[in-house]
């Protein structure tokens, strides 16, 4: 178990390091931050001075090692815009993002899982078809389209809710619904197929052949088994609590991490972008780690190495 854990943690660290490196390379290759921040018509001396101040005149690999070394010592750099600590800048925005993504996660789970279970248990019924049509729609319609649609109906036409901004909970309703519906659709589809897969297994027939009433077959023999694959997708959703709202935050001009990321990328604010990517990668990797451990809890086959005995 300890070996398993250490192995997983090692892999997690490696993943994060790769993300950091990748972000560094892409951002350095995609344009000169000094020129962008100073503006196209800035005098060359000023741009050079900016470069020297931020170490951008060094060879790229030196910048990379400096950056990596700093991260290891907990220093994530400063924003090139206003010189504030990047980590502080980013963490300030986390509560706003969680204010959208946490309620949305509840909607995803509370709506998606029951809908998926119901659809699977009533396969090919009218309800199943409706759930599937809605789920496919929610799955394929991009969140900015859904967001704009909701704004059009509830803010512009009906005037019930504000279309953007962040003054109080009413402003959160439309973005939360936008996020929640899309995720619920994904989860419903996933849960349905996991349930159908399990319901087709021979041990379900065994349970029925034992005389277990259908309700108990579902709750005792199907749901725990179908939970195993579903946990993966929920883990992914938990992992994207920080990063999963980039589009929706932009559509609703919500001042979360996602919007900060968009602005920072546009400005080539390297430290901030890298700090966000690091944060996102870390939450993803941690969620994955938890999923792996949950797997072990839910599925005894993964817990113990098979020790077969003769017949």
């Amino acid at each position: 178990m300890l070996r398993f854990l250490l192995g997983r943690i090692g892999r997690a660290a490696l993943t994060i390091a790769m993300v950091v490196t990748f972000a560094f390379v892409v951002l350095r290759l995609s344009g000169d931050p000094a020129q962008i921040i100073m503006g196209a018509d800035a005098p060359p001396e000023a741009v050079d001075a900016f470069r020297t101040a931020w170490g951008l005149d060094q060879p790229v690999w030196v910048q990379y090692f400096h950056y990596f070394g700093a991260i290891l010592s907990g220093d994530l750099g400063r924003s090139m815009r206003d010189g504030r600590d990047a980590l502080v800048l980013v963490t300030e925005r986390i509560p706003a993002t969680l204010a959208l993504t946490l309620p949305a996660l509840l909607i995803k789970i509370g709506l998606g899982i029951p809908a998926g279970i119901y659809a699977a248990l009533h396969r090919n019924s009218l309800a199943d078809r409706i759930v599937m049509v809605v789920a496919v729609a929610g799955f394929t319609v991009p969140s900015f389209v859904l967001g704009l649609l909701l704004v059009l109906v509830f803010a512009v036409q009906l005037g019930w809710l504000p279309s953007g901004g962040q003054e109080g909970w009413r402003h959160a309703i439309l973005p939360v619904i936008t996020l929640g519906l899309g995720g619920a659709a994904v989860l419903a589809r996933f849960t349905r197929s996991a349930m159908l897969e399990v319901l087709g297994q021979p041990y379900i027939r065994t349970a029925s052949a034992k005389g277990v009433p259908w309700r108990a077959v579902v709750t005792r023999h199907a749901l725990p088994n179908a939970a195993i694959p579903t946990v993966t997708i929920i883990g992914f959703m938990v992992g994207s609590l920080i990063a999963g709202a980039v589009v929706v935050e932009s559509v609703f001009s919500w001042p979360g991490v996602g919007r900060l990321l968009v602005v920072a990328v546009a400005n080539r604010d390297l430290a901030v972008v890298q700090c966000i990517l690091l944060l996102v990668a870390t939450t993803m990797v941690c969620a994955n780690l938890v999923v792996d451990l949950l797997y072990g809890l839910l599925d005894p086959r993964l817990r113990s190495a098979p020790r077969r005995a003769g017949a």
Partner: protein
């Protein structure tokens, strides 16, 4: 009508059982009796409807299966019976075990729990009493170190042991009939023999009836007093085992017997009859076996052959079954 020499009321009486999936017939009129305590074999190539017969009888087919006919268990009609009735029967009066023991047990529950679940349902035993009864059942089906095995998961046991666990679960409800659907097909030959011996021993100990489903006539011959041969959704021949081997009347049965390897040789699948089972949507108009039958004559294609009674307890659905040369040839 079944030809079984059933004296007294049968335990299970199946009459005119028909099943169709999406309009395609899988069973085309099954008549079958099982007497209390007897062992009946049900043989035939894969896909001929052996499993569907008993899944239909116990209400275990998916809702889209169209089922007609009668299945009486004592005084109780099972087809169309309310769920509560069926739940009492399943695992209670009639238990069923399946081909692939490894996937027939729930991988996330311990063995003990899967046995005590049946004990709670059918005998109202729970808690410590259930655990010790489960342990006794594991002992009875020959699992060593039963107490520890209660806490094992199915993946920790071998296929043969899992099948023993399935049998223990089946015994938990003290059934009057055990339907064993190809219980040894997925197992090694030596384990096969052990499981068959166990079934015979349990039948002696408990007095329950046994329906042994197999595609292997050899397996059935060792265990059952009576054999029903199925082909394309019908029972085409039924006879006491000894008689079936001595004087098979249906060309299909004789094909199966011809395909049997010598007693001491390795078992193989029934494949020596040329051709394949007709698809449900391309059923011949007359005898379903006609396209593969070496004795086919014109009238065979005219109508589905009805049962010919050949002797007490011996029937065959072949228009030439009563023809002397065929019988003589069969008796050689």
């Amino acid at each position: 009508m079944p030809a079984g020499v059933v004296t007294g009321a049968p335990l299970v009486a199946i009459r005119g059982l028909r099943v169709a999936f999406d309009g395609q017939p899988a069973l085309r009129g099954i008549d079958l009796d099982v007497a209390p305590g007897e062992a009946v074999g049900l043989v035939g190539e894969s896909g001929c409807g052996k499993s569907v017969t008993w899944l239909a009888a116990l209400g275990l087919l998916p809702a889209r299966a169209a089922i007609a006919g009668q299945v009486r268990l004592g005084e109780t009609e099972l087809l169309g019976a309310p769920a509560t009735t069926l739940e009492k029967v399943r695992g209670g009066r009639v238990a069923m075990i399946f081909q692939d023991p490894a996937s027939s047990l729930n991988p996330v529950h311990r063995i003990g729990r899967q046995i005590t679940e049946a004990l709670a349902l059918h005998r109202g035993i729970t808690g410590g009493a259930a655990r010790s009864e489960a342990r006794r059942l594991l002992d009875q089906v020959g699992i060593p170190d039963a107490g520890r095995r209660l806490d094992a998961y199915p993946h920790e046991l071998s296929g043969g042991q899992n099948q023993r666990v399935m049998i223990a679960i089946a015994l938990a409800g003290r059934p009057e009939l055990l339907v064993a659907d190809e219980p040894t097909t997925a197992l090694d030959v030596t384990i096969q023999a052990q499981i068959l011996a166990l079934l015979q021993q349990l039948r002696r100990e408990t007095g329950m009836a046994l329906v042994l489903i197999s595609h292997d006539l050899g397996v059935v011959a060792e265990t059952c007093e009576r054999v029903c041969v199925m082909y394309a959704g019908r029972i085409v021949e039924e006879a006491p085992t000894a008689r079936l081997f001595a004087a098979p009347a249906h060309p299909y049965t004789r094909g199966l017997l011809g395909a049997l390897p010598p007693m001491d040789g390795p078992r193989r699948r029934l494949s020596a009859i040329p051709g394949g089972v007709p698809e449900p949507w391309a059923m011949p108009p007359g005898c379903a076996f006609a396209p593969r039958c070496p004795h086919r004559i014109g009238p065979c294609d005219g109508a589905v052959p009805s049962d010919a009674m050949l002797a007490t307890g011996h029937r065959a659905a072949c228009i030439r079954a009563t023809v002397a040369p065929l019988l003589a040839e069969a008796a050689e």
